[in-house]
Assembly symmetry: C2
Homo-oligomer: 303 residues x 2
């Protein structure tokens, strides 16, 4: 099914005449600056995300958390380009108007946490609660970090320990907060841009599927040292289950990035226990383990 979704995105890209590799669109605007009175050159980065009850809001999620997540998912996309998120719009289709206030509050508090201005949106009734957030960020002209920039020889890294959101969804209450109140990696994305990351994306669809997507967008192969992927531990899960969640689980807002080896020491402002180097970019395609075995594609698909 994943294949179908990628095929559909390719079709859309060919109709609208745009590349659709990334979760954000870049508007190159050399004369644009939203925050700097000096008028320094900035590009605009824009992203939109649709979330709805059936597939995106786990049972038990509060309306405040629905709002938080709706904002967070878009800020995460903006963060993964290395941009500074600035503005957010929220279109809310509510099955019950009494839910709107808490959804707005959750989104607003997420915006506040990350210095983003929640500037408006749209309001609608919907049989199924549906929220679409659109974010606008800015990044130094020509510097947005895309999925397609990975170069052979780059190291592959991730920010954050993956899999805990999925473990929360599986019923491990100690990890529920990762699922319900994800934290976009806004400062980390900008730190990686400054350090010279060549490609970046968030891993909200799962680490392995994200590696595949990055490999495809960059026309390279991701060679992964599987033992280097950090795995959380839990009393209520087997080690194998934890590893499975770490490799394939969705919902975490960690970042996946590539960076030339000489730039690794330039990474500043990210806790060292939050950053993990897990592999290397090489010629070829897809994702392989450093022991040579192919890694099967698995992860979140909308279709």
């Amino acid at each position: 099914m994943r294949k179908d979704e990628r095929a559909l995105i390719s079709q859309i890209a060919s109709i609208i005449g745009e590349r659709c590799d990334d979760d954000c669109a870049i508007i190159p605007s050399p004369f644009f600056s939203l925050d700097s009175p000096s008028g320094s050159s900035k590009d605009l980065v824009v992203s939109t995300d649709m979330l709805h009850e059936t597939t995106d809001f786990p049972k038990g999620m509060s309306d405040w958390q629905i709002g938080w997540m709706s904002a967070a998912v878009t800020l995460s996309d903006l963060a993964a380009m290395g941009s500074l998120p600035l503005y957010l719009l929220l279109a809310i289709g509510a099955d019950d108007p009494s839910r709107v206030k808490d959804i707005v509050r959750g989104a607003y508090e997420c915006c506040m946490r990350y210095g983003v201005r929640y500037i408006g949106g749209d309001l609608d009734t919907h049989r199924e609660c549906t929220v679409v957030s659109t974010g606008i960020g800015e990044v130094a002209c020509g510097c947005a970090v895309q999925r397609s920039g990975a170069g052979i020889g780059d190291r592959i890294g991730i920010v954050g320990i993956p899999g805990r959101a999925e473990a929360g969804l599986f019923g491990c209450f100690e990890f529920l907060i990762h699922l319900l109140e994800p934290q976009p990696r806004v400062a980390e994305g900008q730190a990686l841009l400054r350090a010279g990351a060549t490609a970046m994306m968030d891993i909200s669809d799962g680490l392995m599927i994200s590696l595949f997507d990055l490999a495809k967008a960059s026309s390279v192969c991701c060679m992964i040292d599987l033992d280097a992927i950090p795995v959380f531990s839990s009393n209520s899960l087997s080690q194998e289950q934890c590893r499975d969640f770490a490799w394939y689980g969705g919902g975490d807002f960690g970042l996946l990035f590539t960076i030339p080896p000489s730039h690794i020491e330039k990474i500043e402002g990210i806790d060292t226990d939050e950053i993990f180097l897990i592999g290397e970019v090489c010629a070829g395609e897809g994702v392989v383990s450093s022991l040579g075995s192919l890694i099967p594609i698995r992860g979140y698909s909308h279709f």
Copy 2:
């Protein structure tokens, strides 16, 4: 119910600390220009709209038309601020992936018609086909025409003959095209801005409800010469029905504006048979007929 919706919007406005009178948010950015290499000062205007099958896509509407309308509704909001629409994003929640291609084509062709770049979006499955479009436009710094700018003594005008989309929905096939393929008034919005319009909005929720909204946002009263409101005619409808559709029907993408009397002759670039002066702004509140009677509030409400 309309009252509930306005109350909800007021609550949202107080939570996020923004005025929410208009269908667009304005990002004042004195150093910003998307299209002009001279770097002249421009504000950014952003709007997002949620549409879905049950309430927004009439039966018999094709997927291409769903795409067209989704883009058009947002371009109309941008037009109603007098802005130049530049970019569009589309988040599509499709009940069947085979529908996506034609929805994208419709939106793309609407964008092309109005010189707008369709730069990306999001793709999702949804039990009910749901499309959220987000548009970005630009306008000369500080010049966006809002609902709140009407001044006492201004004349009230509309662009376009209202009510035909509603007549189409009612079953008058000759007007179906107004319902299914609405034309945002992009050039007209800019022409009215240039002429010095003080307040503007589109009338997609219906003419009378729009007059109420404009009056409220500007803290004025709209005094309307009811006989000056243009009414279309139809063999299959009584004159009274036509008048009712013209006054209260939704779905038309005409513009409602106010303008000082001395600026009316500065309006250039709009066909004279498309522009109608229907009243005057005076002190007070609500909408009254020039014969002194109160006009009841009626029109489209989401809740």
